[in-house]
Symmetry: C2
Subunit: 325 residues, 2 copies
């Protein structure tokens, strides 16, 4: 086994934890010609990956020593803590960058970072925002935080896992992960709601799904681009269609869906939001002015608490893919 | 003025009604080199268009006689009825295809179709699914119904207004228009909700909007494609992430947003839907199985009424652009 410049043995990357997500990450890395060292607590999981060209290490310490960067996809940060705290592992961490995708809170992660730093290594926290099927896709996203320099040093390799690698400060990374999940799944469930409602209109669900998926893509992405511009410029002029116009159209759409016997709790909530925004005086503005409604303090909780400590499991593996081995 | 083969004078298309939407349609047609005859009740609105190359007609009858196809973008179908019923208009309708984008119910439209057919003309009902800024865009959609043959004869011209021209039977066109609006605006408002909530996490709204818009595009379009496939194949296997996994992640995300003082009525509705779907036994399936929840009969209203007669204003101009002159 030859050594790299930094004295670490000749692999490009090590992956520790071979659950669904770890396994698919290894396959994505092998596909791009990377030399991958792997380790898992139960070695049986590695067989297929070894056949595909990965090198199975006998211990976590050996796997950590094998590459300049080690990707951790264990069950949770408690498992990471156990693994990194084990005898003989400490010295394997020197000059190694740990990229930890395992589930855990910000505190857990900060404690792990301290442990890794004390051993002379670097620490990057990663959050996957992709279903397993899209790991390795150039259009997928991963969010990274903790040590920016260490991240940048390995950016090219990490972009194999997801073409878009976004580094943000801790609190922004957590907020982004949370909002990306909240928005994306709200959109998805709204889609299921509309498709399910089509049955009440006597239309085939797959046909409606096909039409909706195709026709909504540009409509929504354009509206979101327009909203970004409006937020950047503070311009909510109702030059395309006012909130009032939308509100009355929404009311009519909701009525027609209800009259057919469709359940539309998500769209009903949308209608209520728009009505509230109207009552706050945004009626003659663009519908994106509802952002102001959401940004306003809730009167009952004006002295709202600080942002909670966030369990990153919820904005990384848990919702759109599991890091669980 | 030279005449076409069918004896109609030498324009490609006439546009009657020069409100915001009519005006922008004329400009899109002129931009593609079409010879456009125009008419409006108050001729002042036509000046800019005449300067841009449109030909202003002195009466609706002259405008209708000027081209093989006439696009109507009047205030509503009552205004269309008045215009088409006026003296001298009847004979202008012979061999003319009316494409009516004005606001009105299915009944209104069927009555107009009968009137046009009696005069030897053809009738197509159109619904615009684009903000004014996107009329003429190759990625925009218009939905058409009524006479398929007449639509196909003028498809190429109509694709100038919106690159995707989808013809469907009446009830499917109305259902599609309704669902496309319900879904798209629910997604947009969910986006505003997430962006607004970012303020409660101490993050700049424009920065969050930029990140969310970019990172959600592929995530959602891929999820929708996957849902289409699952619906077509009846395959809701929880092989990527189960509904149960999503439900617990959603609960956590909602709690963290609430703890920061964010209002999230849309995401709250999403959480409730997922919980209901769990209680219906879809927990180990893909999250798209919630479509089944929405497709199920609401027990209280098992003998639900027939679909309501739908005012197409609500699924055409009203929400994403105004046909109002």
């Amino acid at each position: 086994m030859r050594e790299n410049d930094d004295g670490r043995s000749g692999f490009d990357v090590s992956v520790l934890g071979l659950g669904a997500m770890g396994t698919i990450m290894v396959r994505a890395l092998l596909k791009q010609g990377k030399r991958v060292a792997i380790w898992n607590r139960s070695p049986g999981k590695a067989e297929g990956l070894v056949a595909a060209g990965a090198h199975l290490c006998e211990s976590a310490a050996i796997a950590l020593a094998a590459s300049p960067v080690a990707i951790l996809v264990l069950l949770d940060d408690t498992a990471v803590q156990e693994m990194l705290g084990a005898d003989g592992v400490g010295q394997a961490l020197a000059n190694c960058t740990i990229v930890n995708f395992s589930t855990g809170s910000k505190e857990d992660s900060l404690a792990l970072q301290a442990l890794v730093n004390r051993a002379g290594g670097h620490y990057v926290k990663g959050m996957i925002v992709a279903y397993p099927r899209n790991v390795g896709h150039p259009e997928s996203y991963c969010i990274y935080t903790s040590e920016r320099e260490a991240f940048e040093r390995h950016r090219e390799l990490l972009e194999v896992l997801a073409g878009h690698a976004v580094f943000l400060p801790w609190d922004e990374a957590l907020a982004f992960g949370t909002m990306l999940h909240a928005y994306s799944f709200a959109a998805m469930v709204a889609f299921y709601e509309a498709v399910g409602a089509s049955r009440h209109f006597g239309m085939s669900a797959p046909k409606m799904a096909r039409l909706l998926s195709d026709a909504s893509r540009f409509l929504i992405s354009d509206a979101l681009e327009d909203a970004v511009r409006r937020l950047e410029e503070g311009d909510f002029a109702g030059d395309q269609a006012t909130l009032d116009v939308h509100a009355s159209a929404f009311e009519y759409i909701a009525e027609s869906m209800h009259a057919c016997g469709a359940r539309t709790p998500v769209f009903d909530a949308v209608c209520q939001v728009v009505q509230r925004a109207q009552s706050m005086g945004y009626g003659d503005q663009d519908v994106s002015a509802t952002t102001q409604f959401f940004a306003a303090e809730v009167p009952d909780c004006a002295d709202s608490p600080a942002p909670p400590e966030f369990d990153t499991s919820q904005c990384s593996g848990a919702a759109v893919g599991s890091a669980t081995p």
